[in-house]
């Protein structure tokens, strides 16, 4: 067993630098690497490019880096929950590359799996396809999208072990597995670190080979964006 365990978030992010490109898992505030984000704020890393489906909310998630003006460029599919984001974008302070959600996921997976680019129908005929190669297959048009390149991927899992194996819970899985192994270094934070051998090999969602560092996360807030409930009769 190759040991990927590091002591804490400080050790995991010790070599993170300004101007790097990061991938961050999560959908909205669900499944985001809260510890890594806090550490990026603390380290005050600047001018970074973030690949993440959303940009958090004003006072949580990637919104914290936005408030702090640490982000130079965001690559996301949806940023509707963040006023500061919209302000920085419309004013031109923040560079934004909006990417269809399925394309975003597959650009991660392509990087993970060694595909240089792929053809997808998403965005054909829209401004997303402007300047990109398009091509017909079987009478349908597709856009060529290159794989992402990133320095670090920060992902959050439910359970993990020292071998780097990860298991996700519910919809907090989302982009996290697709980002593992898609950057030069993948850092996983987990809610619960379990003994090696405790995870069922049949139900490991991400094998440790895709993860370079893993640590036991702490103080998870796991904020809910839209608390929708019904009342018991």
């Amino acid at each position: 067993m190759i040991n990927k365990k590091v002591k804490n978030v400080q050790e995991a992010l010790a070599d993170v630098k300004s101007k790097m490109t990061f991938m961050l898992g999560g959908f909205g505030l669900c499944g985001i690497p809260e510890n890594a984000i806090s550490e990026l704020v603390r380290l005050d890393i600047r001018e970074v490019t973030c690949i993440s489906n959303n940009a958090g909310v004003d006072d949580f998630g990637l919104g914290l880096l936005l408030q702090n003006k640490q982000i130079k460029k965001m690559i996301s599919s949806y940023v509707g929950e963040n006023d500061e984001f919209e302000r920085q974008m419309l004013s031109g302070e923040l560079e934004v590359e909006l990417t269809p959600q399925g394309t975003l996921a597959e650009k991660c997976r392509a990087a993970q799996a060694g595909f240089p680019a792929f053809y997808t129908p998403a965005g054909f005929g829209t401004e997303v396809a402007e300047g990109k190669e398009t091509r017909e297959f079987d009478g349908k048009m597709y856009v060529l999208e290159p794989a992402f390149k990133a320095d670090f991927a920060f992902v959050k899992a439910w359970k993990g072990d020292a071998a780097g194996n990860l298991v996700f819970k519910g919809t907090s899985r989302n982009f996290n597995p697709n980002m593992c192994g898609a950057a030069t270094i993948t850092v996983a934070e987990v809610e619960e670190m379990v003994e090696v051998g405790a995870l069922d090999p049949n139900n490991v969602h991400i094998p440790g080979i895709f993860v370079q560092r893993i640590f036991q996360g702490k103080n998870y807030e796991k904020r809910i964006e839209q608390r929708t409930v019904r009342q018991k009769q």
Partner: protein
């Protein structure tokens, strides 16, 4: 009388057939789930990674790790599954989802749809909508027929940046049910009490009216 949002959702719910996997967009489409006939089997997919969505959780039972694409807390039905984003869009791109219902700011007579951006003013992003409309073969749009200034959103040509081209198959508005084909909107049904003339006046795109147009039965 023009439909309200719930009316639109109820009418669209009639389009959902037994055995359908359905993806519901944010807004009115989300409401559709509440009005699907109870004697048919349907499964709802949400592109953030769940198949087999159920109702909202009971107060106190919500789980931050179990949400839909609108970031709302949800529950799951027996037989549900969770998966990653790549597999979620494999379902969508691979045409395994039978019906896509989403909102729009504009629709044009050739089936184009615009719903993600107002240049210089509003940029929320396309989320999964571009993937959905580029692949789905059965796309129903839920929208108001006109904007708050009374201007038609059912157009010859969209003025806003497109989400997808030539993809919309049906539109259900507060005024009408329209089928999109052969570069025109075919008027299928009127909202209760709404005249054909009122629909014609609210429609900028080519409207085809064949024979007597029935009222919706909701």
């Amino acid at each position: 009388m023009a439909l309200d949002k719930i009316g639109i959702a109820k009418r669209i719910a009639q389009e959902v057939q037994d055995g359908f996997y359905v993806n519901l967009g944010i807004g009115i489409p989300t409401l559709v789930a509440n009005y699907v006939r109870e004697d048919i089997e349907v499964e709802f997919q949400s592109e953030n990674g769940v198949l087999g969505m159920g109702a909202f959780p009971f107060d106190g039972e919500e789980d931050a790790d179990i949400i839909n694409a609108g970031k709302q807390t949800i529950t799951t039905m027996p037989g549900a599954s969770f998966f990653d984003s790549s597999m979620s869009f494999a379902m969508i791109r691979g045409k395994h989802v039978d019906l896509t219902i989403l909102g729009a700011m504009e629709v044009s007579e050739n089936g184009d749809i615009a719903n993600w951006k107002i240049p210089g003013k509003m940029v929320k992003g396309m989320g999964g909508a571009m993937d959905l409309v580029a692949s789905a073969e059965n796309i129903i749009v839920a929208m108001m027929h006109t904007n708050k200034h009374g201007e038609s959103k059912i157009l010859k040509k969209c003025s806003l940046p497109l989400t997808g081209v030539g993809c919309v198959t049906k539109v259900v508005t507060n005024l009408a049910v329209l089928e999109v084909k052969d570069n025109a909107f075919y008027l299928l049904e009127r909202a209760p009490g709404v005249s054909v003339e009122a629909i014609q006046n609210a429609t900028e795109g080519t409207l085809i009216i064949n024979g007597e147009i029935p009222e919706m039965a909701i």
